[in-house]
Symmetry: C2
Subunit: 348 residues, 2 copies
């Protein structure tokens, strides 16, 4: 399989979004977020999503021209209504706004309602970390898990992310969803015909199961049992209730092109410099990373990574070697390009 | 076993702390936090801790008179140095300060360094929720788990809590640590002679184990594998690095009377009213709770609870029936009382 240069891929996906009606700068941003996720090794949030998102623009549930309305503008905080614009564009502007507020007040929070799926959250918190801020971001998502003790989906996996500058290292970055496991891992077990751990899912009758087929007919459980349930509910409170957006099953997924997303976010920046010298913060982060990496290894591990290090290493490798874009994803992108009248890159 | 009235227990523990040198109001606060944890059913953070904390005062590692120094006072944020005062007193004042700042700026953050263990975090976030704020609190703690892939303890279980008002219901409240399981559960398995799940702990050689004895000689793993590891590191960044406090194994536990704690916290309040009408927020919280509780049940469950509901129900029951204080804890408290010359309550 030929490797594709990130620049070529970024330019191609930018032209797809531009052809779908996004202003040039916004098209370039969305393409950059998707390619960045692939660079980090998070292909589930990479360019494979471009056709889904573009279908939403074509269906009218995501507006190509993002024009948020400022509902509250009050010093350290703001509330904005995304008016069904492009999630990545709304979130980037919200993070810039939070950073601006944090410069003046030490902390800035932008609460976002009526947005759209915005891909890998780490893109936006990483952006804040690159500018000397601790970035935090929460979102709600379409139903993915039951409340703890229930057997039907009601709550999203409601991802959240925190990132912080780490001196001479790439930023420290957490970016997680609150489900036990990605659905893809259960598909894989079914394909291989192997059982799954009974902590992953319950079947349609609400019983723990090790059978991947029964699990796919049931629901995936929260990570860490009741703790992950509690976290996901709180992320919905911060993202959906506080902002006045959709909550729980009022939020639709990115692949449901015909439905408005109604997701909400909380976007936050802390100005490290306001709390103390940034040099002290970064020196302590370097110390923390050095100590973490020096711990003796457990069985089955070759190295201990700090949060975000694997992504940074993947990015470096992909920058040098290019990205592997699987045949299925190439085909999907080619079809979208044909629909929009966009030429394919050379060497595609 | 006789049931003890919460009021009697509170008054007794208050007099213990007062005899140890805490000002009356501070003694009453600490006693209230401990009794409240017992009321919620979190006895591991209840009055059983009073002798440990008082030993710290007697050892001089926790100052009886809390006199924090304000290091930064900058609008929406502040940094305070707890100067080894009483953790609960420092944290309550920090939350009051965060609420005051949130009234003016929409959000308030107080970053705390050189504090002490403050018991159940939910006490302080619950306090914020009772006043119409979303309360958030993070702390770091003494080493409890390895970084993911390592085999020796370096990171705390770094608890964190978020609470929000929930209309006619008791506040919604999350209050969790990031380890897979409390050490007490492994002791219990050893006592019963039963194996533990292999996701709980590794032995001293860094191998997954189902043997509780080997697990107790090794280390407990983070909840949700690498995710819990990432969360706990980030809670140390927010609590320890940002505030300029101790981090990782620089932090000592509450039962190590001879060592300064050096723990740090991040205390945060969001003024709901600044983001939109509080009535809308609370109506949505009630709607969320109603939907959560109406979900069909999974096998083995009789009811679905919203986060914080079990605690509220336990509190109600204990208010009516009194608290069961186990004989061992009564003895420990009696010994502390004798050392301090404090009379025991009638009917003890």
């Amino acid at each position: 399989m030929p490797h594709t240069s990130p620049d070529v891929l970024r330019a191609f996906v930018t032209s797809l979004y531009a052809a779908a009606g996004l202003p040039g700068e916004d098209a370039a941003l969305v393409a950059d977020t998707l390619v960045q996720a692939d660079m980090w090794g998070h292909s589930s949030h990479g360019v494979m999503r471009a056709p889904w998102y573009i279908d939403r623009v074509r269906a009218g549930t995501m507006k190509p021209v993002t024009a948020p309305e400022v509902v509250v503008d009050a010093g350290a905080i703001a509330v904005i209504d995304g008016r069904d614009g492009v999630g990545q564009v709304i979130t980037k502007r919200a993070m810039e706004d939070a950073i601006r507020r944090a410069k003046a007040h030490g902390v800035g929070i932008v609460s976002v309602r009526e947005s759209n799926h915005h891909g890998a959250l780490g893109y936006f918190t990483h952006m804040a970390a690159g500018q000397g801020f601790v970035g935090m971001l929460t979102t709600n998502g379409s139903p993915a898990m039951p409340p703890w003790g229930g057997r039907t989906k009601l709550l999203g996996n409601n991802p959240w992310s925190i990132a912080a500058p780490a001196g001479r290292h790439a930023p420290m970055m957490l970016d997680i969803a609150n489900t036990m496991v990605a659905r893809g891992k259960i598909f894989l077990a079914r394909q291989k015909g192997i059982p799954i751990p009974d902590s992953w899912a319950i079947d349609a009758q609400g019983r723990r199961t090790t059978d991947p087929v029964a699990a796919l007919g049931g629901v995936i459980l929260p990570m860490a049992e009741h703790k992950g349930y509690g976290i996901t509910v709180m992320m919905d409170v911060l993202s959906g209730v506080l902002s006045g957006s959709g909550i729980m099953d009022e939020v639709s997924g990115p692949y449901q092109a015909e439905k408005r997303s109604r997701c909400g976010h909380m976007v936050m920046a802390l100005n490290i410099e306001a709390f103390g010298p940034r040099s002290r913060f970064e020196a302590r982060m370097e110390e923390m990373i050095a100590r973490i990496k020096a711990v003796p290894l457990a069985e089955g591990f070759d190295e201990v990574f700090y949060p975000g290090e694997i992504e940074a290493r993947n990015e470096e490798r992909h920058r040098q070697q290019g990205l592997d874009v699987p045949a299925q994803i190439r085909q999907d992108l080619s079809r979208t390009a044909a629909q929009l009248g966009v030429p394919l890159p050379e060497c595609w």
